[in-house]
């Protein structure tokens, strides 16, 4: 990353900005200076940013209405060529005119659609209630001259009926019917029928008691309930037809204008963002100045485009590399293709500082390794590979799904390799069939169920290596910043942990006793280093680091749980005795295990990196590289 100054004649500043915007390679920094020699510059065009913002809100609102679910993808691509030549004023006028012409039409259609939706929902409610009470119809008196009111009461407050009943009896001089039926799991519907002359008194009373009252509209009363239901159905059909007609009209408008509106949205958003960058530009009496950071590899192209447009009159000046300034340089990930998908994980933490090591390639190496170590099954690996390949292809336009599935695909290959070493195809099924058997290395079988302790030791050994690697990277980061204390602290930590491990090895007889004295000296020197580098906190940190190393035992423990579940699936299906049933049970249990195998090992591998590994060297807090330019469509 290079820090540059672009200096050109002030008269050309609007053009220079346009060219830099098209180039889209400079991460802007404030070019103004406190000395007052370089001051702020305003956009050449006068414009009202509030007017453009409110216009954008209207456009986006209309776009939302005009996006029916069946819209073809190509309709979403804006027609940039049609409007690109317009000045911003012409663009604002054109966009406003289109918005005005569409707004009234869309508002009428939307309002009507909303009304119909509400009416439809209400009808569904009436229908549900009437269906519930229809079996009670013969119990009701002739409805002429009577009013039917339905009360909805929660079952837990059913006792309130005993309170209402005597009051209604009193109001209606005992001329009423009171029938209740379950409406759904939570509510009961109570039908009250009474003479219309008492209607107002009854409603007032129910209102005063805060009872949820549903009045069946006039058009559905004074008729048998089945006729009312038929009428409701007819009304629902009419609503459906009208709703479809409205949707058809909206679709027609969408076909005609969606692309144009979408283009206005893109162009006006670009314009607004471009003008917001003006606060970063500077000017002197005769020159216009842009300051910023540019990736080394983009510098020649940017120089070329400026020279093509302005000849020698615009100069790109590289500022000298200042180590302190480099800490403020923006960062972007520039990893090889095999590590690219793993940048997904780096989005979970703050980006690294400019002079810090980018851990993405290490993620790309160790994540699949850990995943494979845990899953370790050819069958599961193959299923995960097929699954991730399919989902990756199906959702290739969704970046995060694509990245995640790429990670899973790479990891599944590792799972198959480890599966070959462990001799596992769907647990012990492969071994049972005589297809393969676990490797034996140094006389130790890699059968995971039998070799619990060797694998546990190996997992912790991997932890020691990974944590030491993290500490070593921490030393490298501190070296780059010339931070001697941190270097000594991390070296002390490596020394002390190594010493503790060697002493433990000596105690168990795995390390010759002759080295004990040297190890004790190493331990004391390391403690001194820790105290110098990190004070008392540095020494306390040792316990944390040992805990971090032990945490790698999960590599073996989670894998063991997975293999035992696979083992149970195979054994259970064998025990059932009925072939088909056994196959079904085995498939179900293995499917469950594959789902778990996709989720749990990923989370734990991720956690081992973010918590155990990163804490040894990673600081983060860098500024992401955001070039001044058009967002890719």
């Amino acid at each position: 990353m290079k820090q540059i100054l672009v200096v050109g004649p002030k008269k050309d500043y609007q053009r220079i900005i346009n060219v830099l915007y098209q180039a889209g390679s400079i991460h802007l920094e404030d070019a103004k200076e406190d000395t007052g020699e370089i001051v702020a510059i305003s956009p050449l065009d006068t414009f009202n940013s509030e007017e453009i913002s409110s216009l954008l809100i209207r456009i986006r609102g209309q776009l939302q209405i005009l996006t029916p679910s069946d819209i073809k993808k190509r309709q979403k691509i804006p027609v940039l060529d049609k409007y690109e030549e317009l000045t911003h004023e012409e663009l604002v006028v054109a966009a406003s005119n289109l918005c005005d012409s569409l707004e009234s039409r869309l508002r009428i259609l939307e309002n009507r659609k909303e009304e119909l939706d509400i009416r439809y929902t209400t009808l569904l409610r009436y229908e549900k209630i009437i269906r519930k009470i229809s079996p009670l119809e013969q119990q009701l008196p002739t409805l002429e001259g009577f009013e039917v009111t339905i009360l909805i009461i929660q079952k837990e407050f059913e006792s309130v009926l005993d309170i209402i009943h005597p009051f209604l009896s009193d109001i209606t001089k005992n001329q009423f019917e009171f029938i209740s039926a379950d409406l759904d799991e939570k509510n009961i519907a109570v039908i009250t029928v009474f003479s219309k002359k008492y209607a107002s008194k009854v409603h007032d009373f129910l209102y005063s008691k805060n009872v949820n009252e549903v009045r069946i509209p006039q058009e559905y009363t004074n008729m048998p309930l089945d006729e009312a239901l038929a009428l409701i159905q007819k009304d629902k059909d009419a609503i459906n037809i009208e709703t479809s007609q409205i949707e058809e009209k909206i679709r027609d408008i969408s076909t005609e204008w969606y692309k144009d509106l979408s283009t206005f949205n893109v162009l006006l958003t670009d314009f607004l963002e471009g003008t917001l960058a003006y606060s970063q530009f500077g000017q002197t009496d005769y020159t216009f100045i842009v300051k910023g950071w540019i990736p080394q590899k983009s510098l020649p192209a940017t120089r070329k485009i400026l020279s093509e447009n302005f000849g020698m009159s615009v100069v790109v000046h590289e500022l000298p590399d200042d180590p302190d300034l480099l800490d403020n340089a923006p960062v972007f990930f520039d990893n090889p293709f095999w590590a690219k998908p793993f940048e997904f994980f780096m989005n979970l933490v703050a980006p690294p500082m400019y002079r810090e090591i980018d851990p993405t390639p290490l993620f790309a190496i160790f994540f699949p390794l850990f995943f494979g170590f845990i899953v370790g099954d050819i069958g599961y690996g193959f299923v995960i590979f097929c699954f991730s390949l399919t989902v990756r292809h199906k959702f290739r336009e969704v970046p995060w799904v694509f990245q995640l599935m790429s990670i899973l695909m790479i990891s599944s290959i590792s799972a198959m390799i480890f599966g070959y070493i462990y001799g596992e195809i769907f647990g012990d099924f492969g071994e049972h069939m005589g297809w393969l058997s676990p490797f034996t290395i140094f006389g130790i079988s890699w059968n995971r169920i039998e070799s619990i302790i060797p694998l546990l030791t190996l997992a912790i050994g991997i932890g020691v290596f990974h944590v030491f690697l993290g500490l070593s990277l921490g030393i490298l980061n501190s070296y780059r910043r010339h931070n001697t204390r941190h270097i000594i602290e991390k070296a002390g930590m490596i020394g002390l942990i190594s010493g503790i491990l060697l002493l433990f090895g000596s105690y168990t007889g795995h390390v010759p006793g002759s080295v004990t004295f040297a190890v004790i000296i190493l331990v004391f020197i390391s403690i001194a280093g820790l105290l110098y580098g990190g004070g008392s906190r540095g020494v306390i940190e040792v316990m944390g680091t040992i805990g971090n190393i032990m945490s790698y035992a999960r590599l073996m423990a989670i894998g063991l749980a997975s293999v035992i579940l696979a083992f149970v699936a195979n054994r259970l299906s064998q025990e059932l005795g009925i072939l088909i049933l056994g196959i079904i049970v085995a498939i179900l249990l293995h499917t469950l295990n594959v789902c778990l195998a996709m989720f749990s090992p990923s989370i734990h591998s991720l956690r081992l990196h973010v918590v155990e590994f990163f804490s040894k060297f990673y600081e983060g807090g860098g500024t992401p590289y955001k070039p001044f330019g058009k967002e890719p469509l």
Binding site: N347, I603, L606, R607
Partner: protein
């Protein structure tokens, strides 16, 4: 020769870790669900946070394994 005390001891070591992990995860999960509802972009961080207490059950497992090995 170790008797029934060894597996029981190992089981207690493991169960202690498992229960502690469960308690910690339930609290992190509840708070995390709230955080994700308000800020969906924090989902990745919350998933990692949710996995952190599992160290306890793993350590419980290691201690259980050590009990069995050392007594044998």
């Amino acid at each position: 020769m170790a008797g029934w005390e060894v597996p029981i001891g190992a089981a207690i070591a493991f169960v202690g870790g498992a229960i502690a992990t469960g308690i910690a995860q339930s609290k992190i999960g509840a708070a995390g669900a709230g955080a994700v509802a308000e800020r969906p972009e924090s989902a990745g961080t919350i998933i990692v946070l949710e996995a952190i207490p599992e160290t306890l059950v793993i350590l419980g497992f290691v201690v259980a394994a050590m009990i069995i090995i050392m007594v044998e």
